[in-house]
Every structure is written in structure tokens, then in C-alpha cells.
Point group: C2
């Protein structure tokens, strides 16, 4: 049984030029997947009419085509006009819609002390729709639409991510979209996450365990320091998926650390919470990223007490109690200082567990003995410690990101041991 | 004069499913733009052969098609095979390439204590190329390629962003790509960045200042809390661009803060460095994000001393000297506590300037008096202070991200005042 095919079209000059990273494509693709529609492609185009029209025409081959952006009042917002052209529909002003947008615009005009006449043209433009389109809701003055054309249902949403996310559930309630969802069926999914094994070792174990089977797709992918095996399968392939899971657990059990999608920071916080432990951080080269990832999780304040970003050496001394002698003898980037930072964070922030990072993120600051990418990690708990030395490739941003992930895994390992 | 048309094709199941955000598309699009090639679309597909082949066929319409991913040794890495099919080329093993990949694989086999036979099939696969392809370089065991087909030059690069970025400059040196670049011509670009003005106010000022002109494209876009006006123009439209810039400066001068692309954290660090000031942070709800953005800049250690992430109230007391009485009277989320945190960070971390953030990022913790999204910012320097109260919309991640940007702008404003 094949799933309905979904396509996402995202429009925005700054997105196609790489000046900003698109967030709507991944959101909409993830939603399609969740609903049992296969996300086949995400297409990003600018406001060039020929490119956008071509992308919308290609959307006609899909069961559902979700479109983001190009609904504003200005001249370069052309999604509605081009959707009408791609689907061969007439454009017309919706009277009720125009009244609704006019009301919003009059309030804005009043607040800004501008004559409404300045807005009238934009209102008319935003109230113009292809024949047969259904208005799903309004964000500011931009209407979200659903349009059935040939065998495709188009869902057209405003570009600002918060507005798109607010209106998407309303689009799912319309009858054209409900009809697509009735043909959809959600695949089963399973993930096995490994830490410390190489991608090729995991790929080999996957092949040895039997590999893919009819109705079972297996993807190996590296993310941060983790290797994920994603199994996506139809119900009839569930015993094949079970066999594959068992084979991977047997071969790579020592590296397997999770079989769900929770980020490592969530696993760390959950392990602390379960055991009634509080947590603190001490960071040099990661500059707050470890604390930022931990506090990205709602409810992290139940576990996380705080952290010190000790960039200057005398901040390491004053705020974390790292001794001048230790710094002079081993240097700020050393296993000894990482351990002292973790001990200091536990004591100063009154936490049960602390993790420390010190390293050289580059591009400057490296020496032959201590090159860019050298990072020391140390986690200390109530009944033990764990530490690691890393030599990371990549630029400053890559080194910081990977050191952050590794720091979280060091705490996770410590909590799993004890 | 039209520029060569560029298309980016990115392949990866986890990318088209929205499980991971693509970084290669924006990078490659930005590079094309920089080189004077118009990035017309970024297409993301999974490892479904039909979708990937169709995307590569569409690439044939472009002058340059940059392709990322699908070059690994495993069965679902199909870019080379499908590129051969899309361009009608035969596949053949390259003997010299095979020897090179074999040498790398033998070292890996030795390190992992595995027989080389386990790798032989993958080596043969990765050494197989479409007729006429030129090898640009190797990342691990994955070769990057350039292939001229019909009127299109394909540049095929490995998916891991660091490897892609390393091999891209080498691809630019090949003669097929150099031939495209000879037809390219870089547009002139100018950016005006505003803080504190709404997107519609900026759009209106842009229209009043004359708007777009032949050869001059103007894009208004909101990023973080900033509104950017991007002017992209041909040399012959430079006086029109000048007029537009002058008109915007006249109308929105109080909000204009930058005419280059440097991130606000870079502007803050540069302003500190110029005046010989050191900087520290004190964060509650942003949990280290302000420090992380500041330390993302190479050389930030010349200015940034460190920060305290004070999540628990007693960490605010112990590490930042916020008094128990102040916390009890005003609550941790208050203008008074933000000011005390900034003062504490200046004193404890021995910094000239400090910025503090306290707020409610949600989803829990809000009350009718202090709802989710309420954030207080305070920056204190040697000769003055600046503060702000924000009521931010959005989810936890949006609130934290926007509060972080606003905190950096508060320091920037303080440094600009004094």
C-alpha cells in the first residue's frame, strides 16, 4: 500500500539565496510524515515568478502540496496569483474576506496614525483568491487557503513560522485535506541510536543483521556524535523490523543508548530527575552551549541549577576555584583543569552532578602541543566521574557544537554507570 | 545582462522528512550568489530513486547544478548512479580512484581490526563514476565530482557539511566550473538593518523612497528582531540604489543600526574592543544562549570574560549577589532583579559591561501577572545603563531566541549611547 505523496514549496528570496535557513519546509515535511503522507520533496524558490510558477506546477503531481510564503501585501508576494495561473483558475476579490482584512487594516492604520487609503490597494490584493479556494484563517492580513485542483490539494500558508504553525491545524480540518488524510496511513517507525560507533560499523552491522526487506526501509545517519538507524515499515514488515532491531542490539549493544527520539539533553535531565540529582555546568570553549541545550528542555529547572561560562582564566579561578598553580602547570586546556572546573561547579553551584568543558575552538589559539580542536571533558557526580579527551575536526562552530554534544554524552554515560 | 542560473539539489531522507534541517542548501546558494550565479531553487529530496533522478533531470535546465549527499558506500547512496542515468552516461570504475579509496579503506580496516574484504564492495561502488566525470577530491572514501552534461555543469559533493565546504573551493578550480564563472557577474549588494521598526513601516518607507527600479531589487525581511532591507543591483542601477539608501536613512534613521552583515554579537564585541571594555553576561531564561552567541565569534576572548547562568534563585543569590529581599519583594522575573543580576555579573566577573536576562520561557511557570513571554533585560556599563521589558509571543524556543537577540541589542544600544 503506497502512501499519498506530499510536496512542500517554500518561497522567499532570502531563503533561496541562503541568507536565512528555512524552518517551514522541515516543519511541514515532519507534519506530512506524522500524518502518513510521504514527504517527497521540499522545494525552495525565490520571488521570481517563473521559478515559483514552475514549482507550483510540479506540486500538481502530488496528492498534497503545502506552500509557504508570498502572501503579503507587497508587489513581490505572488503566490496567490501564480497558483491561479498554475491551476488555470480565475482570480476574484472575495467580498467577505475583503471586509475582514479591511477591518484589520483600519485598526493598524489608526494605531500608526496613517490614512486608510495607504492600505486599500494591499487589502484588495490580499482579498483576491483563485476561484474555488477556501479561506482557512487569517494571519495579520494574510489569508491561508486550501485549493483543490486536478488531483492535488494545495494548502497555502503565510511564511512567518509562528503564523504558519498556528494556521496549519486549521487547514487539516478542511474537507479537501481530510479526504487526503483518509487515504493516508501512518507507517510504523523505530529508531536505534548509537554513540561511539562509526557510521560504517553501524552500516555493516545493519547488513549483517539482514538489512532492508519488502515494506521495511532502514536509514543510517550521523547526527552530532550519534549514529541513528531509522526503521520505517508497514505493519506487515514488523517482524522483519523486530529481527533487525534484535540483530543490531546483539552486535552493537555496548554503543546503543536510546530507542526513542529524545535529545541527549532530555535523557540527561530525565536520568537526574529519576535519581533526585541536581546538575550544573562549567564551560570554557563551548561558551554556554551546554547550558543552553539543557535549558532548552521545558521543566529543566527541576534539575538544572545553573552554570558558569569561564572564558577568562581568572574567571575560572574566581568563580570555579581552579587554582592558579593548576592553571600554570597544566594550562587552561587540560584534563586537570577540566576536572577542577567540574569540582568547582559542583561546589559553587551546590549541585550533585557537574560537567565541565575546556578546549580550543579556534581558529586562533592552537599550538603544536595543543592544536585547535583539542577538548577536555569531565563530569563529576556523587559517586564517580567520567572524562574524555577529544581531537575534533572542523571549524569553530563545528568544534563547539560537537564538544557540546560530547559533554552531554559524558554526563549521560556517568549517570548510566552509577 | 542575465546571470547564469544555479540550482541546488540536496539529498537525504532525514532532510526531506524534516528530521534534520539542511545546512548545505543555504551554504551553496549563498556561494552561488557571491559568485554572480543566480540561485533559482533549492530542491531537497530523499533517497527515493525516482524523486532524486527527477531532481537531477531538472538540474539539467540550469547552468550550474550543485548536488549534495548520497555518495556514501551504502545501498541507499544513489547520487552517482542516478546522475549517470539522468545525463545518459555509462558508469565505469575508475582504476586510479579505486586504488586511492582502497588505500584509505585498508587503513580504516586495520584500525578497526576488520578484514579488508568487508570493505571491497563499498570501495568498488565509490570508485564507480559516470563517463566524463572529473574527480575533484575525496572526503573519507567519498569522491567529489564535476560533470559537464548538455549545457549544465554538475558539481557533486559529499553530504557532511564540513566535507562539502572543504571540497567546494576545489570544485571551483575545475575548468567546467571556471567556464560558468567566466559568464557570471557578481551583482552589487547593499544591506540596511533596522532595529525597533516594524516590517510594514520599513516596507512603507521603502515605497516612499522610490522602491525598486530597473536593475535594482529590494527585499524587506524580518530576522530575529531586526528588519533587513537587501538591495541587489546591477552597476547601472547604482544611483537608484544610492537614492533608495538615502531615502531610508532619512525616514528611519533612528532605527538604522548597521549597513553590513555582521551579526549583532560581532557589533557588540567590536564596540567593546574599540573602547577597551570587557563584557560579561548573567542569564536566567536564555540559559547560556547570550554567552554562546558572543563566544561564537572568533577572538571574543579579547572582550568576553564569562557569564553566569543562574537558573535556580539561590544561584542568583550566591553567584550574582542578588539579595534574598529583592527576590522576595519583586520576584525573580522583574526589572529590579535583572538590574541586580547585571550589577552582580559586573562585580563578580570583574567586567566593565554586563547584560542580564530574566524571564519566563514557558510552557509552564506563567501567571496572570507574569505570563509566559515576559522578559526583563538590563545592561550596565561604566557610565550608564539600558533596560527593556518584553512580552514575547511564541513557544519556548522562540521566546529564548528572541530574548537572546534583544539582550544583544540592549548592550549594543548602551554602547552606542555612551
Amino acid at each position: 500500500m503506497t502512501r499519498p505523496r506530499g510536496v512542500v514549496v517554500v518561497t522567499g528570496s532570502e531563503l533561496v539565496r541562503g541568507e536565512r535557513t528555512d524552518r517551514n519546509g522541515p516543519f511541514l515535511a515532519g507534519e506530512l510524515l506524522r500524518l502518513g503522507i510521504e514527504p517527497a520533496r521540499i522545494q525552495i524558490v525565490g520571488d521570481d515568478p517563473a521559478e515559483l510558477e514552475a514549482a507550483l506546477r510540479e506540486g500538481l503531481g502530488a496528492d498534497l502540496c503545502a506552500v509557504s510564503g508570498g502572501l503579503g501585501p507587497t508587489h513581490d508576494d505572488r503566490t496567490v496569483e501564480l497558483l491561479a495561473r498554475a491551476t488555470g483558475r480565475e482570480l476574484a476579490v472575495g467580498a467577505a474576506l475583503e471586509a475582514e482584512i479591511e477591518a484589520v487594516s483600519r485598526r493598524v492604520a489608526e494605531r500608526l496614525r496613517r490614512p486608510y487609503a495607504d492600505f486599500a490597494e494591499g487589502v484588495r490584493k490580499q482579498a483576491t483568491l483563485p476561484a474555488g479556494a477556501e479561506v482557512v484563517g487569517i494571519a495579520g492580513t494574510a489569508p491561508a487557503l486550501v485549493l483543490e485542483a486536478e488531483d492535488t490539494v494545495f494548502v497555502v500558508l503565510p511564511g512567518p513560522p509562528s503564523e504558519l504553525r498556528r494556521l496549519w491545524p486549521q487547514a487539516l480540518e478542511t474537507s479537501p485535506v481530510r479526504a487526503v488524510l483518509a487515504r493516508a496511513h501512518e507507517p510504523e517507525r523505530r529508531v536505534l541510536r548509537f554513540y561511539g560507533a562509526s557510521e560504517s560499523a553501524v552500516a555493516r552491522a545493519l547488513a549483517e543483521a539482514g538489512g532492508e526487506a519488502p515494506g521495511l526501509a532502514a536509514t543510517v545517519c550521523a547526527r552530532d556524535f550519534e549514529i541513528h538507524v531509522d526503521l520505517v515499515f508497514e505493519a506487515e514488515a514488523s517482524s522483519a523490523a523486530d529481527r533487525l532491531g534484535t540483530g543490531l542490539r546483539k552486535r552493537l549493544g555496548e554503543y546503543l543508548f536510546a530507542e526513542d527520539e529524545r535529545a541527549v539533553e532530555e535523557l540527561v535531565l530525565a536520568a537526574c530527575l529519576k535519581r533526585g540529582l541536581s546538575l550544573a555546568t562549567a564551560e570554557s570553549c563551548t561558551g554556554g552551549l551546554v547550558a543552553a541545550r539543557l535549558t532548552s528542555v521545558p521543566g529543566s529547572s527541576d534539575v538544572f541549577r545553573g552554570g558558569v561560562v569561564a572564558y577568562a582564566d581568572d574567571v575560572k579561578r574566581a568563580e570555579l576555584g581552579v587554582s592558579e598553580e593548576l592553571l600554570a602547570r597544566h594550562g587552561a586546556v587540560s584534563a586537570e583543569v577540566a576536572a577542577a572546573m567540574a569540582a568547582g561547579a559542583r561546589a559553587r553551584l551546590d549541585a550533585d552532578v557537574a560537567v565541565a568543558v575546556t578546549g580550543i575552538a579556534g581558529p586562533g589559539g592552537g599550538t603544536p602541543e595543543k592544536p585547535v580542536g583539542l577538548v577536555y571533558l569531565h563530569a563529576e557526580g556523587t559517586d564517580g566521574s567520567a572524562s574524555r579527551e577529544l581531537n575534533l575536526p572542523g571549524d569553530r562552530s563545528a568544534i563547539r557544537g560537537r564538544a557540546t554534544a560530547a559533554a552531554l554524552h559524558v554526563v549521560r554515560t556517568l549517570l548510566a554507570q552509577s
